[in-house]
């Protein structure tokens, strides 16, 4: 099911949504939440730090070869939260987190993120091998170097998982992610090399992706964990391209000048169906620390336009305090 969250056509109209003040309030709320965690109950809570470094093959999700750009990146993230067990087989996790993503070859894509989440898990019985249902809700604010890419991101995931043995665990689920741009830029369509008078919506960061996913992980005797996952995503992709790309312009759902390229490129919102594959090896360094080596591959199919892909290789150090 394709769902476009908003369809407002504006021509030459400048509409600025105020994004900075709500962002400040969200930051304050997050920080207050983190610092209000009582230290006396620290063991009842968790804190996790991860640092990842890697390579992304098609950072702007470029459609044509000339639009494809790769970059090495570093991302750091920290999350903390509190675990509640209100009933024997039901637990609730509240978490808050922050992350920063740095792309060495294209700093226009750098962004920081603050997030809040709640996850409710119910086990359909007792023990490690009983099926469990997990419902998680999340909200994040992403602040990038250009206001047009700033957005709020809301997610809901429903996961059914079951451990079949001490080594083998699998999960399936549904998820939906809604992106809301914080800034709707003005676009002078007449200045673009397309037919005069033809316009498009100017809110490419407003969209929703729905997906089905499945994953499996297997732990070897050595403690190394192999994992693989697949996600089928029905929704949208934001693709950045040097104009003119007539195919993209004709079929785009929304378009704006891309701040990641100092407005020298356009970013297009395209309806797409995507296959997202992930594989990883996780090597435990201690019982609280692990190094993960992962490879992700994404293929986007855009109707009338074609398909393009992106791949990512990354090494992540995860430590839980």
């Amino acid at each position: 099911m394709l769902t476009k969250t908003r369809h407002i056509y504006k021509t030459g109209e400048t509409v600025r949504r105020t994004g900075s003040k709500p962002a400040s309030r969200l930051c304050q709320t997050l920080l207050l939440s983190l610092f209000s965690i009582p230290l006396s109950a620290w063991c009842n809570e968790f804190m996790e730090l991860s640092v990842a470094s890697g390579y992304e093959q098609n950072l702007p999700r470029g459609y044509l070869d000339k639009d494809v750009q790769s970059s090495e990146f570093v991302q750091t993230s920290v999350s903390a939260g509190k675990f509640f067990q209100p009933r024997v087989n039901t637990s609730v996790v509240l978490s808050a987190g922050g992350s920063h993503h740095l792309y060495f070859n294209q700093h226009g894509f750098d962004y920081s993120s603050l997030s809040l989440g709640v996850a409710i898990q119910h086990k359909l019985g007792m023990g490690a091998y009983t099926p469990r249902i997990n419902l998680s809700l999340s909200a994040a604010r992403e602040d990038s170097r250009g206001a047009q890419r700033d957005r709020d991101l809301y997610g809901i995931d429903l996961t059914l998982s079951r451990r079949l043995s001490a080594g083998l665990n699998f999960s399936v689920g549904l998820s939906s992610a809604t992106s809301r741009g914080l800034d709707e830029p003005a676009v002078d369509f007449d200045a673009l090399p397309y037919r005069q008078g033809v316009t498009r919506p100017t809110d490419p960061m407003d969209y929703r992706n729905n997906s089905l996913f499945a994953g499996v992980d297997y732990t070897l005797n050595s403690g190394w964990q192999l994992s693989a996952g697949y996600r089928y995503q029905d929704g949208y992709v934001v693709s950045s391209a040097v104009p003119p790309v007539v195919d993209l312009f004709i079929y785009t759902e929304a378009v704006a000048l891309d701040p990641a390229y100092d407005h020298q490129r356009l970013m297009y919102l395209m309806e797409s169906r995507a296959d997202l594959w992930t594989t990883a090896i996780s090597i435990p360094l201690s019982r609280d620390t692990a190094v993960d080596i992962g490879y992700n591959w994404q293929n986007f199919a855009v109707e009338y336009v074609g398909g393009y892909d992106n791949s990512q290789f990354l090494v992540t150090l995860v430590h839980q305090f």
Binding site: C43, S79, F83, Q85, V88, A280, L285, A290, G294, V318
Partner: protein, 220 residues
Amino acid sequence: MKLTIKILLIPWLSIGAATLYGETLTVSLLDLRSESGLYDAVVEIIPIRQMTPEVMPIEVSVDQVDKEFISDVTVVPVGSRINFPNSDEILHHVYSFSQTKSFDIPLYGAGDNLDHFETFDRPGVVVIGCNIHDWMLAYIYVAESALVSKSDELGKARLENLEPGHYQLKIWHARMGDDPPLIKEVDVAAGLDTNLTIALDLAPERRIRRAPSSTSGRYR
């Protein structure tokens, strides 16, 4: 599970006069995979013809510290009582589905349930876990005899003050999984120290991984 057993029975003439019920049986267990001593194996002997020593039940604690049971293997005689203190500042929920002893102590925090004892009145192996922390796992070996010992880091288990006679020897280790204990017969001769060496080829231990990963849930 592939189980290879090599038994070397080495009776040594003890030096000095043997006292009544003063014999010693030493069982050396060798792990064929690591080619080292097999740690934390349970060695129990049950008299076949001679008088069975009276079993004296005991009270012990299996503590929970830093989201692990202390210790991995606890050996008690049948009829013993065990409590499961929580020394962590979080909730634990101890349970067992084992046929030997099934129980469930729901959600309790530090200092709670110190006076809650479970009675283990049937011999066998009891696997215990925590319903919140899946990786927490430990074993309780409920011995039908008072003549029981655990192997040390060198793989040696020593049973002392034995009456000479014919015994059934039971050897159990967590890596045997659902398989029953290894059972043999052994003679303990008067005036002799009896030494057994047994090599075992056991499957590697499989436990739920505790270490985090970038794909796992955040609370562990």
